[in-house]
Assembly symmetry: C2
Homo-oligomer: 192 residues x 2
């Protein structure tokens, strides 16, 4: 299947099509071949989110809560502004889910020590417990998928996913990801 002509193009551009059909290893991948990856990505993401979504329903939460809880736990001590930048949503959208997570005791805020306007976000014990439950099926899925992808897949997949991120976002992403603190021995995950 891979190949040559492309299901999206109008009949007109047979010109390009002919050129693309070149023999040997094509330097440029055909659109049809690439679209298959788009589809796989859709299916993968669709199923990746289904397990936690089901659990979240029992708590009256949605996927947005999972995302907030994830970043607050894994990068605990981040500011509200950081979270907005990571999630790429508006303050109002974040406000709603964050408030619910705080009200129900999954997240706490503390004023920043240097700048007391800042609200640094931390998970509570039950926040950690909930996230752990949400993440469990995803971790299993990821571990199995990396294994199924064969040896060396971890590096290739990591590079692939990193390169899928907008170039201008990559520094921010690596910065936040490297700051992802293994929680210290008392489990309080203080800012690093």
């Amino acid at each position: 299947m891979t190949d040559i002509n492309d299901p999206l193009s109008e009949p007109l551009d047979a010109k390009r099509r002919a050129g693309a059909a070149a023999p040997g290893k094509p330097l440029r991948r055909s659109d049809a071949e690439l679209l298959a990856y788009a589809e796989l990505l859709f299916f993968a993401y669709r199923d990746f989110t289904r397990d936690p979504d089901a659990i979240l329903r029992d708590f009256g939460f949605g996927r947005a809560h999972h995302r907030v809880l994830h970043f607050v736990t894994r990068h605990s001590g981040l500011r509200v502004a950081d979270l907005l930048d990571v999630l790429k949503i508006t303050k109002q959208s974040l406000g709603r889910v964050l408030k619910q997570l705080i009200d129900k005791g999954y997240i706490v805020q503390r004023a920043g020590s240097a700048d007391r306007r800042e609200r640094l976000l931390y998970p509570t014990a039950s926040g950690r417990a909930l996230l752990k439950r949400l993440a469990a099926p995803q971790l299993i899925r990821l571990a199995e998928a990396l294994k199924a992808a064969g040896p060396g897949a971890d590096i290739v997949v990591r590079r692939f996913l990193q390169a899928m991120i907008n170039a201008e976002e990559r520094p921010k992403v690596s910065s936040i990801m490297s700051s992802s603190p293994v929680p210290d021995s008392d489990g309080n995950a203080e800012v690093s």
Copy 2:
């Protein structure tokens, strides 16, 4: 579940953590390491959808329209029931966006020849044109990411993404993906 050490757990399990730092290649990946992939997947998907989302706004459409148009174009002639199974949404949700796409002339229906209750879905010329425009930035992104991931990345990434899909869904996914009909020479994408 999987585990060895894990950044989500309470202080208690320092025991387990110590064991995980073991020398040599760990057979099981740590939760912290795996969570990084979950995060990368979130960022990758977040940015993967941003370009088409921006274009869709100009048409008064949303991401749901893109998904429908994608599957109808790439697997043209599929039934409404197929689409529901692929998207995992309800008939009512699909109905709304499908109706809009039909009303605005991006998709047409035809009764099935064997079973005339079935409505087979086909893109129109403008449907193909719109999808092409939506997919263009995604194709570029995918091509660059595969290239950046290094030689052999295509196979590894494909296997990874396939393995991320629910096991029971994989046969259906490969079946629909292999049925992705190259449109015939007049570009009308008749049923194969």
